[in-house]
């Protein structure tokens, strides 16, 4: 643990003489030195454009950019690297699918299913599809424990259902959805129904394998898994991606352009218009190397340990209500909560006096908060560098909130 913490330079910071207690990794993770170095090295030593130059540093940039794609493909168990498309992040990955797959494929009479626990990124496109194209939007609700009941699929997945869009891990409830079981059930009920998995909260925290999942599309972001902001991934099955029309226009996404027609590039390039986020891809590649070296099973093991400790510690505080499953083994490293009589903004503000960083608000999941009939929540989330001492600091901070405002 100490060795891991040493890899994160930001943890050496003192603000007003006090250390940083970072409990907002679900929003974005901290970055290890190896990622910062990889990006710095690109800009310092070979910061040329990719694909174009026939000179050494451009060739090196292309190799590094494509090398990252290859390692990411391996990390998520993709069959081939061409199925890995770089985007700006999960939101753009799903938006790409909305424009290039859903809009051309879906219309009146079709059904799209999503869940009540989605991040807005995986909710808004489908709500919009219903509003503008007459597609029926069905929402899969959770049970009292914050989990999805697979029996519900019998009614949700019909011959008309073209897409199930769901998250692998809820960014509020922490619920881990059994993706493999879900896709199997879906494909049994309707083999033509595609499954899109929002893996933004899964890819950083547990071993994922898109082929074992049996998913058709998977989206995730770099910055939640130790990588830089501004880059993410859309993975899709080759035949689906090849069939989809282009998303953005520009450089690098064409084979030939004539006055009267254009031949677009193949995957993944036809979806990557313009100079890509080269340093971002290289940084994400370094993040994947870092996580691979740690081992995703070890990452998950630490998360379960910290989460069970936090669940216990927090449930000892009177008036505190934890959202989502009660078992750490059923949830990711995130705990959203309310504290009777105390507003989340006040909780967050008072914790910040001791540099304890948590998130407050709706966490881009307002429909879920509405469904649970609650206002804003406070949310603490954990990652590989989170210690039990961080959790103790959080618990002490919450007692302080009670003392000041109680």
């Amino acid at each position: 643990m100490d060795a891991i913490r040493k890899d994160f330079p930001i943890l050496n910071r003192r603000i007003d003489g006090k250390p940083l207690i970072y409990l907002d990794s679900t929003a974005t993770s901290l970055k290890p030195q190896a990622v910062l170095d990889a990006m710095d090295e690109y800009y310092t030593l070979y910061g040329a454009n990719v694909f174009r130059g026939i000179y050494k540093i451009s060739e090196k940039a292309t190799l590094a950019y494509e090398g990252a794609r290859e390692r990411i493909a391996k990390f998520i168990g993709a069959k081939e690297k061409e199925e890995v498309i770089f985007t700006r992040g999960t939101d753009e990955s799903i938006s790409l699918l909305y424009y290039s797959w859903a809009l051309p494929h879906m219309g009146k009479g079709d059904v799209v299913v999503t869940t009540i626990m989605e991040h807005h990124a995986n909710f808004l496109p489908w709500q919009q599809l219903a509003k503008t194209k007459g597609v029926t939007l069905k929402i899969w609700n959770t049970d009292a424990n914050g989990e999805l009941n697979l029996n519900d699929l019998d009614t949700l997945i019909t011959r008309e259902t073209k897409l199930l869009a769901l998250t692998a891990v809820s960014n509020v409830l922490g619920t881990i959805n059994p993706i493999q079981k879900i896709t199997r059930t879906v494909k049994k009920l309707n083999p033509a129904c595609l499954v899109l998995v929002d893996a933004a909260q899964a890819a950083p925290h547990m071993a994922i394998n898109v082929q074992e999942w049996g998913a058709d599309f998977v989206a995730f972001s770099s910055h939640k898994m130790l990588g830089p902001t501004g880059i993410g991934v859309l993975w899709g099955r080759r035949e689906l991606l090849e069939d989809m029309p282009v998303f953005n226009f520009g450089g690098d996404m064409i084979k030939e352009v004539h006055r009267d027609h254009t031949v677009f590039a193949g995957i993944p390039y036809k979806f990557e218009a313009g100079t890509p986020h080269i340093s971002g891809a290289i940084g994400l590649g370094a993040a994947v190397d870092y996580l691979t070296a740690l081992g995703m099973d070890a990452v998950r093991k630490h998360e379960v340990e910290i989460t069970s400790y936090a669940l216990k510690k927090l449930s000892d505080i009177s008036g505190l209500r934890i959202m989502g499953p009660t078992e750490a083994s059923h949830r990711g490293g995130v705990i959203a909560f309310t504290m009777q009589g105390f507003h989340p903004h006040d909780i967050g503000q008072i914790l910040d006096e001791d540099n304890i960083c948590i998130r407050v608000g709706f966490h881009c999941a307002q429909p879920l908060h509405e469904y649970l009939s609650i206002g804003a929540t406070a949310r603490a989330s954990f990652y590989i560098y989170t210690t039990k001492a961080d959790i103790d600091a959080l618990a002490n901070g919450l007692h302080k909130v009670k003392k000041i405002l109680g």
Binding site: H343, P344, H345, D346, Q349, I350, V360, G361, F362, Q366, H369, G375, A376, I404, L405
Partner: protein, 128 residues
């Protein structure tokens, strides 16, 4: 920065002028989009001149900052001329609270003023 200083806590628990007026001349409400909290304000103006605030109440839920800001604001504007109420701005609220605010908390602190000015404007539209 000591955001939760005595005076703010004093107005947070219990807030002044909390509740509803019997016959308000105007009312307005607004959401704080970052937390979903709602604040409503009701005002009654001077019966003869209709130029001053005679009575004011607020209701809703919110963080200590927005609640204290609403409570202090209702005291501040009682008896104030409507055009002076409309002239109030960010600085007046920050000075009233007597504390430094981060950008995100400034929104919480300004919400009551926003609601009050909305109510006053609706009144002027009615009169006009």
């Amino acid at each position: 920065m000591d955001l939760y200083r005595e005076i703010i806590l004093d107005h947070y628990k219990p807030p002044r002028n909390f509740g509803e007026l019997e016959k308000p001349d105007a009312k307005a409400s607004e959401y704080n989009t970052t937390c979903g909290d709602r604040i409503s304000i009701e005002v009654r103006v001077n019966a003869s001149t209709r130029q001053r605030i005679d009575d004011i109440c607020f209701s809703g839920v919110g963080c200590a900052i927005s609640m204290a800001s609403a409570s202090m604001l209702t005291e501040k504007v009682t008896g104030m001329r409507l055009k002076d109420v409309l002239a109030l701005g960010t600085n007046d609220i920050v000075n009233m609270l007597g504390t430094e605010l981060t950008p995100s908390r400034t929104k919480c602190a300004l919400l009551p003023l926003e609601v009050l000015q909305k109510a006053v404007l609706s009144l002027q539209t009615h009169n006009g």
